[in-house]
Structure formats: C-alpha cells, structure tokens
Subunit: 476 residues, 2 copies
C-alpha cells in the first residue's frame, strides 16, 4: 500500500470542499497529478469506474444500432475551418503539433472533438437513404488546452470520452434522437451513478459551437453547484452542408441530411465523488463500485487460523455474486483497514472475528449509513444483494432530496441574487440574451444551466422581454 493512503482525510467536505475533493481523489487512489500541467493520471480505482460507465453505455449504444469506430487523433487545420462557428468556438483551446513533414500543407490539431474529421469521411460513405440512419461512435481521448485552473476529472487538458455522431434523413428524427441520447445519459446518471439531473436545452450563449441547439443534463452537487454531466447537440444541416454530406432519397433526389453529436466523459467520475462522498471519503453507489464488498478478518493471535479459514470460505462464496476483496493484511490493524475501505467508498464492509466464527455470523457495515448488522453466514450472500440494492436506492433518493431542496423559483432581482448567494438553483424567467447572461455571471457568478420552458413577461434580471424560464446556478 502506498504511503499516502495511510493518512485519511485532514479536512471535512463542508469545511473545505475543494481540499476535500483533492484529498479524496488522491488518497482513495482515483487519480494522481501528472508532471504534465493540467493532465491527470487515472489510477486503477478511478479507471475501473470509467470501465463500468463504458460497459453500461456501450451496451445501450449497441442495442440502438450504433457502431464503434476510431478516427485519427489529428485534424488538419483546413477541416477545422470549414464550419466557421465551430472553428471560432474551439480555436483558443486547440493544441497543435510541430510540423514533421516537409510536404505538409496543413497544420495538424490534436482533436478537441471529432466532428470535422468524421464528417469528411461521412461525405464519402453516405450515398443513399438506405445508409440512414448512420449511427457511429468512438471512445477516445481528447485535448482542450484549458487556461482555467484544472481539477482531476472535472476539468483537465486531456480527458477520455465517447463521442456519438449520427446522420438522419429528417429533421424530426434528428431532433427525436438528440433527445433520446440525452435521455440515455440521464439513465446512466440516475440508474448507474445514483445522480438525479435537470434536463433541458442550453441557452444560445451556452450551446455547442456549430450546433442548432444543445440538450444537457445537469446534476446539482451537495454544495449547490451544477455539474454538466453530458450534452447532446442537434447540429441541423450546418456541418452536412460544410462537409458536403448528401444522400439520394427513395425518389433518387439529392438531399442534405441532419446530424447530431453527443458525449459523456471521465467528468462523470468527478460527479460521483462530489455527489455522494462524505467526511470519511468516497461513497460509491453499488452498481458503479469496482469493489462491492470488502471482507476484513479481525485477528487475535490465538484464533488467527480459524478466522482466516472463515474469511476465505466467505470470500469464495461471495465471488459468485459480488466484486469482493479479502483484506488479510496482518501488518495493519482492523481499524486501519476499516478506514481504508471507507475512504475508497466500498459499499459493504464485512467484519469477521473469532466470536463471529463461533456463532457462524459476520458483521455487515453499510458505507452510506454506517449501520451495522449481524448476519448468519448462511444468509450473507442474499443479505448483501438486498443491502446493496437498498444503498443504491438510498443514495439516489438522498441526492434527489438535495436537488429538490436547492430549487428556488424567484421573481425579483434581489431574491435571485440571494438564491445564488445561498448556493441554490434559481428558476427565473429571463431574456436569455448573451449580454444579460454575461451581466448575471459578472455580478453573481451564476450561469444558465438549461431552459425549462418558454416564458412570457419580463426578464427577472434585466427587465426586458423574457424568452425562457431557466435554471441558474454556480457551476463546476
């Protein structure tokens, strides 16, 4: 065991949430700082969660007919510039490689997202209405040269993600599917990660560069800040026109198709940490936990053998239904080992000591509530399944309560400012113009998270004509 995990957290989550986050990330072995500024090293406990998200969502994609592919890391500068808004939006963040070829005409960017390089191929591949819908995805690393302070998982210069890029015959199907993928992200967030979300369109100033509109899911962390969890962009025909994508319809007439793109990233791991963690460290929803049960035998010199025998038998039994570890490190006290599995967020701790062996029982301890219970060895398997289901539900409903409690509908500038100051999510009617949004950000630190619905009347902030009812909050 590396030395740093021995120390435990030195701050509380509510006391110094930023320091708490950094400590949890490092001490629970989720990620480490890298010698490359703004980049992180994803360590096994963190990477295993990414594998969990990948496996869950890859199944959803394949079930919907999406095929995986892989496009080059490099994008020629000329491609980038084909869609003007897109190029403008991304250019400050793009990293370029030094020219290595004498005959290279174009500078090469490291992909910040792959619309342009993918759609260049789509123009060659898509010919007929029979090719539609054309549904493709890639799992990849992307690079965006952040100038803001970076934080592991939440904002890094390189991150891992999936980017889905689909092409449809009609605007209607494209809109429906854009919503569908946002709904699937909601499913990942709520069903796998136990994180409820707000869902809606982004305002004009917050949408993806080059999109007609962006649908987002936004989680509200316990501190009241929003965390964007996944976005789905309706690209309309803009990219198709810029890249010359067309198809022949059933009547043999040339048509321009409609496109969307959608992505989720390793950012979701940051959300898990923030949404559920407590003063002892991580608290992992069972479905995404790389380890669901940690068996900790409690040794007393004379009874060591008999305890280990019991622990090993239990371990073998649980292997069938659980992702289980047996922590038999004799050099560490039982208390130290308890703390370590708590820090790592393992949902269930199973204690077994000499008296337990005698009584053919174990002690099960829930990570979310700390509640202990004695369970007969014959019942352990079944009880673990039941407790883990309960924990998954409990974490989701706690997070739902937080979300609900944070929502405040306000109708005046004063109450709006107060709501943001109190770390709440303010629901206001607003004009949703970029000048008003900039003014709000400048004055309060809040940004629009997503649109709830159309609104009439006046903008709560500037008094001009309102366009939408919108969620506003501070954000990660």
């Amino acid at each position: 065991m590396a030395k740093e995990t021995k120390e435990g957290l030195t701050v509380t989550k509510s006391g110094d949430s930023s320091e708490w986050y950094q400590q949890v990330v490092q001490k629970a072995g989720l990620a480490d700082y890298s010698p490359v500024k703004g980049c992180m090293i994803i360590r096994p406990h963190g990477y295993a969660m990414w594998e969990g998200i990948q496996s869950f969502f890859d199944g959803i994609m394949k079930g919907h007919g999406v095929q995986n592919a892989y496009f080059p890391l490099f994008i020629p500068e000329s491609f980038f510039k084909k869609e003007a808004t897109h190029a403008e939006g991304f250019s400050p963040e793009v990293a370029w490689i030094e020219n290595k070829d004498k005959d290279m005409k174009d500078r090469l960017a490291i992909r910040p997202t792959s619309e342009t390089i993918m759609y260049d191929s789509y123009a060659r591949w898509i010919r007929s209405w029979r090719d539609l819908p054309f549904q493709m995805n890639q799992w990849a690393n992307v690079v965006r040269w952040e100038t803001k302070a970076t934080k592991p998982f939440l904002r890094t210069r390189e991150f891992l993600w999936q980017e889905g890029h689909c092409v449809y015959a009609t605007a209607k199907e494209c809109a429906k599917e854009t919503k569908y993928w946002s709904d699937m992200y909601k499913k990942v967030s709520e069903e796998l990660l136990a994180i409820p979300v707000l869902q809606g369109k982004k305002t004009e100033s917050e949408k993806f560069s080059g999109a007609d509109y962006t649908v987002t899911i936004e989680a509200i962390m316990p501190d009241g800040k929003a965390l964007q969890m996944g976005t789905s962009h309706n690209l309309g025909q803009g990219f198709a026109k810029a890249f010359g994508i067309s198809y022949l319809d059933e009547q043999g007439k040339k048509q321009v198709p409609y496109q969307n793109s959608w992505g989720i990233s390793t950012r979701m791991i940051g959300a898990i940490i923030l949404a559920h963690g407590d003063d002892k460290g991580l608290v992992l929803p069972p479905r995404i936990a790389p380890i669901t049960c940690a068996i900790v035998p409690i040794f007393f010199d004379k009874k060591k053998k008999v305890v280990m025998k019991g622990a090993e038998a239990l371990y073998k039994k649980l292997l069938n239904t659980q992702r289980v570890v047996l922590d038999d490190r004799e050099q560490q006290s039982a208390g130290w080992r308890f703390s370590e599995w708590e820090l790592k967020g393992v949902p269930l701790r199973i204690e077994i000591g000499p008296k337990d062996v005698e009584k053919k029982q174990v002690v099960l301890v829930r990570r979310d509530t700390g509640k202990k219970e004695f369970v007969k060895v014959a019942q352990v398997e079944k009880r673990c399944v039941a407790l883990l289901e309960e924990m998954q539900k409990n974490l989701l409903s706690k997070a739902k309560k937080n979300l609900k409690d944070r929502l405040v509908k306000v109708t005046t500038k004063q109450t709006f400012t107060k709501a943001i100051k109190d770390s709440n999510v303010a629901i206001i009617s607003c004009c949703a113009t970029s000048s008003c949004e900039d003014a709000i950000k400048e004055a309060t630190g809040a940004t629009s998270r997503c649109i709830i619905k159309e609104a009439r009347g006046k903008c709560v902030y500037c008094g001009k004509k309102a366009a939408h009812e919108v969620y506003y909050s501070k954000s990660y």
Copy 2:
C-alpha cells in the same frame, strides 16, 4: 451500403498481394484512408475485431492481477532523456506539440510508448516489498512518425494498443513474467486469431530501445514474410535506476526492482487479413469474427413472405448462440449478397429459399472451404456451433502447415540467399552482430526475426564466430 463495397476485388492475393491487401481493407469496411497522412480510420468491421482482441486479452490480464490505468498523452522531453538508449531509439519518430504555455519549461512529446511517464509515477507509488509485483496496463493510442510507406493496421503513424508495465522484486520473477506475457500473446494469436507463431528473443540490434532483451512472437504470412505480432521486454533495472524506483525489502533494506513492458496493437488485425484472406476477400476465424453467421433469404416474388418468415424465425433462434445478421436487402440479388458476406469474411452463410422452407431445411456454406451442406432447421443451431469449431481448427492447421513449409535450415551463404529469395524463413547459425545483420538486410532484404537457441561454429553469412541459431526472413 456504400458504393465501394459493390465492386468486389479486382486482383488476386497471389497476383498482387499489396493491392489485394489495400482492396480488402477498404472494400470489406475494415479501415479507410484518412486525410491525415499515415493515419487510418478504423471502420466498424475492423474496430469490432479490436474489441474482440481487447475483451479476450483484458480478461487474461485481470485474471493475472493486472490493473488498468490511464496516463497522459503527453510526455515532457526531460523524462524522455532520462534513459539514454530509450531516448535515442525513439527520438526520430517522436511528434512534439507547439508550446501553448508561457511558463512551459519542457517540450511535450506525444507518447510513442509510455515507459517514462509511467515510471515517474511508479517512483512515487512503490515503497515496500508489499507493493510488488506491481502490475499495470493501459489501453491507449500512440504516435510514431513513420517515414516508411504506411499501410493500414500494419504500419501507421497512430495506432491503438495495450502497454503492460510491471515491477518485480527479483530478476528471476521478472524474466519469468516477461516470458509469461509473450506466452499470453501466443495464446491470443493461436487460440483467438488462428495464427501460429515463432517465439524467441530478438537479437541485440532488433531489441527494444532500453531493454535488456525482447521476447517476440512472429507470424509467417502465406507470402513468406514475417509479421511481428507482439513483444515483451525485460527492462532489467535500467529504467528503475533512471527514474529512481526503489522499495524497502522485508528486512527494511532499500532495493532496486526489476521491470518489464509488453504490448500488442491493432497490427494484429493486419495479420488476420494476411494470414487467412483469399481471392474472395477476408476469411475470419469464427472466434474473432464480429459476425459469425449471415442469413441470406433468397426471394422469388410469389414466395417472398414465406421465405422471410422462415428467415426471421431462424434469425431469432440463432441470436442466442451466434453473432448473426439477417440480410433482407431486397434491392440486391442473392448472388450480390453472397459475395458481400464472403468479402467481409463471415464464417458461415445460411441460404434459405422457397424450396428450403418447404423442406424445413437451409443451406450452410463455409467461408474457408466453400463447402455447402443441407441442414434441417431443427439442427441448424447445433450444426453452426460444430462447423464454426471445425473452421477455427482448420484455419489454424492451414496456417501451421504454411509456417512449417516455410522453415528451411541452411548452412551456406548461397542456400541462405536462395531461401530468402524463395520467400522462405531461413534458419541459420549466425554471429548476430549488427554489422552482419545490416549486411544481410542490404543484400537480401531479410532481417533476423528471433533467436532459436545458442549456436557454436561459424556464422553462415560472414564466417565469423556464430552466437545463435536465428530465424531470418523478409518482414512486414
């Protein structure tokens, strides 16, 4: 269906193998050329094979206690230079990014391999003998700026791979494990891809830059050229010393550990194409085939409904045990559809026409032999399983025969030169010095593939003292 797949191959494999390869890659939908010179686009049919390799080998790694992680794409120049031989070996191929930060001290390379960035962290993470063996892997993209002509899968500037990096307490364990990972690569190649391999150490001039030695597996393609399939490097203590990795042993004494690194890449897909393909296109071993069975209903106007009903019932039935598609494209003739699935290498074609429906039978056609057989509908599931197993075995034994037939032991310079000219693999006693290997390459185009055993006597090529018995051949 994209237009290019309609055309079929215009050359034979033996007639123009290079053009044949390019056509199969593109027309079977495995990969496409990209606008970025030397980079390829891996299309779904090719990417699905990579997923198959990943899933098979990831299971082997996890079963052996290896944990997945993810390290930054960028490597500071100063890291690179810490191990002198390593830096020297890779520097011509490294791509650098343009400086984006004012305070950046180091140039940043795009990883060609990750020893240096990983071992910098290992020095922080590894403290005690209890941390060993430390076994870590990452699945990632790497970039090597090839100046030779590139070919999809076989040689590209960016490729996908896994790189395992492990640390051990003793030299003995490190050597044993270095061989173990090469054995596991052999398992992937032979059991999954049906490609037999030669296995042995590389000569000094062909080993990995910075390694004590490299163990390789080499497949021999039907044209007699070798294809390096996977390498496992015993790094000894060189990197550990350069990066300051040490641990305290059980007596509390500071020790320098031993390391290895090992990798396989998307190159393996190139090997599948070359090893098994024929004049009709790809021939895929069933275990790696993204689709194992293609059902092709044969329509005649009056009987369309009844045929489709039979085909659909069969499709539903086979879904349980096979990766099956139902090709009901009415606009394409049955013959056209037959050719397409042959081109894509699908192991079994299942034809079903009006008469077959009447007789409650189907026609099964093997891709490897072209052999047809009538099978009763009630027997199809079982028969598919048996035929696919047979095909997997048949492809492996055909490839084994090719390998065996190509091996020629020679004892004179003349017979050596002839063996290489005849596209065989020559087994010779040789000095294995870099000057002699360079001379051989210059004169014959052959390179040493791997060492078979120690040898006495004289070098067949230069007449100086022999050191090893070695395989020589041309290679990809």
